[in-house]
Subunit: 251 residues, 2 copies
């Protein structure tokens, strides 16, 4: 949405081109240097934060709607989004946006709205985020310090985290989150940060090596007179294969 | 739906009480004695099979809609359903039911309809299934021999199987699928059948024992002069705890 006029038109007649009673929200997790954050939008009108979200066009494939909405709201592009859950149980999902927006009584946006949740994991220091007309600002919020959000978005984040963590055992991650060459402590910290638990220092790299996901580059990084840890890299071919076929990790 | 009159009324005006453009389908997997099947409905009108499904009431929580739809269509009760994916990408999910039903041009059921998928796993020899007015019969079909189904339901089953298999590594199963006391080959066969792969005969029971999920009953079953395998049972308290907190299995 680019202009105020377009927003006004959408509020009145958006249901003609978009599904009614159904929205889409994106939980964008950002990893960088031992920290896991989530992208939150501060609404101009509502004095609160939420996940970026929007409505699905009646003619577009669902997964394209997810990418489009994220791009329109945040300017984040080429983010691989994964669907995780459709929300329709909580009180908010039964009552709708009634108490949030000052809209005419029979406006379509006041009706009960289910929402399809997608998540993604990006390297947040490399991501550019831009506000749209509805949002005052975007913030990368530490997931350990999430405030009370608008709508049912605290529940959404909890569920998205759960699904992302489970997925970590079945699909490799790290390719766009670490430097091309990384140390074992760096990749271990990535997994530990997302899982929010310590992993065995011996079994963890052993498992990644035995799957063929990472390999020794025969190079070291000099980080001090007596510290020069070995550098590893992903085996791209094996990584792609594991992404496609799925893996079972247990460290 | 109980009468022809009610069905006719639903076809004309169902959108007033149910969400438009959104349906719900259930992939009910049935396990019994080394076999994994899926419940398919044969439609009276369409000369083909599909998963049981229906529409969500505008006033009911989403998960209650899932149980209600399954019960109304099949008489299956108290089935724990797990949501796995919302479908909206395939050609069918963009084109809608146009070519399937002989309905008036502007009927609401001809519009594009996304669908929320739920799955469950039951012991099919203990389940009673009853036809409703739209279905000629229900069959438990071996998942290795699934015919070409109506709509996008082959894709749905594939995705449901994928999610159920992943979930097997993170939540214990078996409580309602095996006898109260079972042998190690019996529980291993349950896992192998669902995963469609062989598991290590030494590591698999060792893992279940080390998690505390199963315990030795100190009884044996006599199945022949020289064959009397030990009987095991679930530790119910531990089982519930693992269900709640999640586990990470790897055999």
């Amino acid at each position: 949405m680019k202009s105020e006029k377009e927003v006004t038109e959408f509020i009145s007649n958006g249901y003609k081109t978009h599904f009614r009673n159904l929205s889409l929200d994106c939980a964008i997790f950002g990893y960088s240097d031992h920290q896991l954050k989530i992208l939150l939008a501060k609404w101009k009108e509502l004095n609160g934060y939420s996940l970026p979200g929007g409505f699905i066009k009646r003619t577009e494939p669902l997964s394209m709607a997810a990418s489009r909405i994220l791009k329109e709201r945040t300017a984040l592009d080429n983010v691989f989004l994964q669907q995780f859950h459709t929300f329709g149980d909580s009180e908010f999902r039964r009552e709708g946006h009634k108490k949030y927006f000052n809209l005419p009584k029979d406006n379509w946006l006041k009706e009960r709205t289910l929402s399809i949740g997608y998540y993604a994991l990006v390297e947040y220091s490399r991501a550019t985020v831009t506000e749209d007309i509805l949002t005052e600002e975007y913030v990368w919020q530490d997931i350990r310090k999430i405030p009370t959000l608008l709508f049912d978005h605290n529940e959404m984040i909890e569920k998205a985290l759960h699904h992302m963590r489970i997925n970590l055992y079945h699909q490799p991650i790290g390719y766009n989150l670490l430097e091309k060459k990384f140390t074992l402590p760096e990749i271990q910290s990535l997994y530990e940060t997302i899982l929010d638990k310590k992993l065995d220092r011996r079994k963890f790299p052993k498992k990644l090596m035995s799957l063929g996901l990472i390999k020794d580059t025969n190079e070291v990084r000099s980080i001090g007179q007596h510290r020069s840890p070995k550098l590893y890299t992903f085996d791209k071919k094996k990584y792609e294969q594991c992404l496609k076929e799925g893996i079972v990790l247990a460290f």
